[in-house]
Subunit: 620 residues, 2 copies
Amino acid sequence: MGHSTDEKHEKKEMDTRSLSSSRHPSLNMAYIHKVGVPPKQNLFKEFKATVKETFFSDDPLRPFKDQSGSRKFILGIQAIFPIFEWGRRYNLTKFRGDLIAGLTIASLCIPQDIGYAKLANLAPQYGLYSSFVPPLIYAFMGSSRDIAIGPVAVVSLLLGTLLQNEIDPTTNPTEYRRLAFTATFFAGITQATLGFFRLGFLIDFLSHAAIVGFMGGAAITIALQQLKGFLGIRKFTKKADIISVMHSVWGSVNHGWNWQTIVIGATFLSFLLFAKHIVKHIEKGINPSSVNEIYFHGEYLGKGFRIGMVAGMVALTEAIAIGRTFASMKDYQLDGNKEMVALGAMNIVGSMTSCYVATGSFSRSAVNYMAGCQTAVSNIVMSCVVILTLEFITPLFKYTPNAILSAIIISAVINLIDFQAAILIWKIDKFDFVACLGAFFGVIFLSVEIGLLIAVSISFAKILLQVTRPRTAILGKIPGTTVYRNLQQYPDATKVPGVLIVRIDSAIYFSNSNYVKERILRWLTDEEEQKKVDYQPRIQILIVEMSPVTDIDTSGIHALEELYRSLQKRDLQLILANPGPVVIDKLHASNFTNVIGEDKIFLTVADAVSSCSPKLVEEA
Amino acid sequence: MGHSTDEKHEKKEMDTRSLSSSRHPSLNMAYIHKVGVPPKQNLFKEFKATVKETFFSDDPLRPFKDQSGSRKFILGIQAIFPIFEWGRRYNLTKFRGDLIAGLTIASLCIPQDIGYAKLANLAPQYGLYSSFVPPLIYAFMGSSRDIAIGPVAVVSLLLGTLLQNEIDPTTNPTEYRRLAFTATFFAGITQATLGFFRLGFLIDFLSHAAIVGFMGGAAITIALQQLKGFLGIRKFTKKADIISVMHSVWGSVNHGWNWQTIVIGATFLSFLLFAKHIVKHIEKGINPSSVNEIYFHGEYLGKGFRIGMVAGMVALTEAIAIGRTFASMKDYQLDGNKEMVALGAMNIVGSMTSCYVATGSFSRSAVNYMAGCQTAVSNIVMSCVVILTLEFITPLFKYTPNAILSAIIISAVINLIDFQAAILIWKIDKFDFVACLGAFFGVIFLSVEIGLLIAVSISFAKILLQVTRPRTAILGKIPGTTVYRNLQQYPDATKVPGVLIVRIDSAIYFSNSNYVKERILRWLTDEEEQKKVDYQPRIQILIVEMSPVTDIDTSGIHALEELYRSLQKRDLQLILANPGPVVIDKLHASNFTNVIGEDKIFLTVADAVSSCSPKLVEEA
């Protein structure tokens, strides 16, 4: 072993020697490594690669490669219905885990469903219906092993708020319900379409920070609305914002709160918050068909579509976030687009069987995971318990006091307020924290939709800011190495006299090309003023380190040309270091390499510096 | 000199020797360079720096630094009215250049103004009015020396189309004109506001490619509309798209085109296209006041505001593009935000003196530059010629045949079709070319607004694509160096056995964090499959080169954590190379550095490789 290390050492010595000589172009030109120009790509190939990376980045057809026809068919069926794949390896041990997890989440979901249906202004049985059909469909089509499907608080609240703006649920309950099914149908269509056309990446635009803020705000709004049942107030506002709710609460103080209700609720709430055990609660019988209730024409079609799209996107965000979290905990891959098709299909079928929008629930999925679920069979178990409940014991639920229901909902949603995450966001990224706060206050002070809008807008603003104002840095040589790094990060790095080395930290596109050019000129002006003060030699060479510049467009090349012209007027040399494959290709295509000279482009900053420093020495 | 080179050489040798020994951590730990953690910044300072970089990246207050009170006042006046700065250095030589240039652009602008006013569905004198007041104001407030101010074809067409949708100019000419002044007023307000709040970077979102396509489409649309005057057709469509226009043209073939008109037009057009000389054409007297004609309330206020905003933004884009082009040709700096305030002020004053939206004209600015203009005085000269024309010779213009006017307009707009630029765009960036084509066909087949919308949407889509699907690359060692580069660009670079080196080429944000994580895992899977086929040792170490990763947010850190967990399950080591200042700061804040271990973060890929390769050797 010692021998091999020695050998290695010797080889390294040689490497570094040849490297050091390569840094003396005047002595030995041949050793300078040229910047590679990638082989010319066929236009169609290039286009195909881009499309593939954008829409098929997960390479979904990989398992189909080199397979026979019948095998391909089986794989296709398994791709749409993953149950046929993992089902073959299913056994009793796994079923034991799934049975216990399924029973646990069923006991949790039944009272939650009843409460959430109320948030959506629907009769309680619709919550239960939505915990029967969708989980079954998901079990066949979904690929997450830990997600628990059913109605969730945030989507119920959002759906309730949006539908209420169109139809009053107390005066027109039938039309309201029909619009709810229409919205559910289109929520499913939206989800399935996004998945089918592989546009799943669109939901990535809702940032984690925005979701934390939105969820926290929605949880507080929901909890506040439960004050109605909790305090036994009769006259209560229909609006969801905190000001209207507090107005209702304090307005009814004079009429006296119902103290018995408060005691029951408070006792039960504290019981739930500490023990995490759940008791249970309408109309008997399983889901009736609702195919004929969906509006396929008329004015409500458009409204249902719009509401469904928003609710469907929010539901997707929640389900995908949950799915990804648990998949990474158990280390399996989740195909986002396939998940979306599964969720979409389950909501489309749901809308035809009296269900409203279902998705993955944060609280129940966590319980499912903790109770030891193995596969989506736990959803089937839960579904069976819900059928039995619907068929036999629903009439008993009518005796459940409202205060208890409110307590159940409060205890469920309170977990959505994730202080730890908010603190971490504050620590890591202040801008993210603003997005988080914006969504939070938008939801509690204005409305659920506006909170969502604020969250999305701030997320977009952040992306735009990132692309318009990329970072630039001045580099210096780290003592004892040939490595050039950001002077801010490595204060002991030293500048090379007469040379300014600037690194651009982003692709150069139309949105930032002018900024980049002007920023570099400003670095130069700053530096020149500094040199004047310090009586140091003036700057003769500007080296632009292009390693992080992954792409450049026509505006970017214009900006470089303008930079070059400005430098020429000031009698300064422009040198580029390490342009990437795409960039060097485009610099060639636009003839810019000939304008500045091929010999002004180097593989590394170190090469560039060593090639020009002899000249500086000569002139000194 | 020889001596100093020798000395340098010796120093280098030492450097490289210490470098090479630094690559043997087992021999000499002390030489490994740690990744620097930048000094902790005050939150307020950090915030101030971000705001400064976003809104004041040009450092507008630099000249005010360390000046006395009265000097600051003078500098302030000069900042708002640059004429007081350059005016003091003005002399007779400069005036000669400006006089000739001013007379030249005046002779060009008078017939153009009359034609453009027709595009905006206004009486011809309003075109001339707009070439009198706005250039004067600009001369005092603007900082470009070469731009020629006045009505331009594209903005006139856009304004005409948008206003026509609201009010019919033939039946309600007075109301139409009033709305035009209202729109002009708000165009000015929009421009001045963007400049004042330093939001000038917003116009950078209209990419160069989109502008080329939009301008080309608008030019063809304008030229087609001139067929009415050129062919002497009486009944002509009011719509601007190519299908309606061609329908009008061929529909009137049967009724016979007016051959005399065609001969005059064709002769004149060919004369103009070859000789570039212009003849001249209405109501006598200078601009009447129009303060009372602007709608400050009522339904037209909102419409005027909307139209003015769109027209103002397009006018800005054109003026800034022209200003920047000529500024870079003569190498002076242009303050985009100051320009916007100047353009805004000139349109606000213009709207009160019977002018419609004026901006910088491509064709006239080029002529101005070529004729040897020195300062904005050429605009004052032009303005004076226009006053004289308005006062004395406008009545003569009524004898100008329509065919000649059409020919003048066609010859002016045909220069807006920039084939060369389109070809260059095709060569450099195919996606840009799609944006260019989209804008072009949108304008000629649909309408000016839709073309503009398509251009903006495609530009945005490009930005979004850039942030959702950043590039990643596999690195290899370039033989004879310690430099690691993209294997695609440098096919002779070699992989290190047992190690996979991946570079992420973008900041890691919520919009791409999942993609980045999954892409890295896919690289790993691909590589492992390859190794299996080739019977090579399995991969034990994944080095992520973070140099281009300028920033990371909470979602990005989550993704890294998930990546780390996945790698742990597969018994692989995660090593980070060269995280930047912001990234290392956030990795510390989120405790991720402790999770993976401080000793797993290296300054360079070479350091990382050399620190782990002894281990690989041991195990081999």
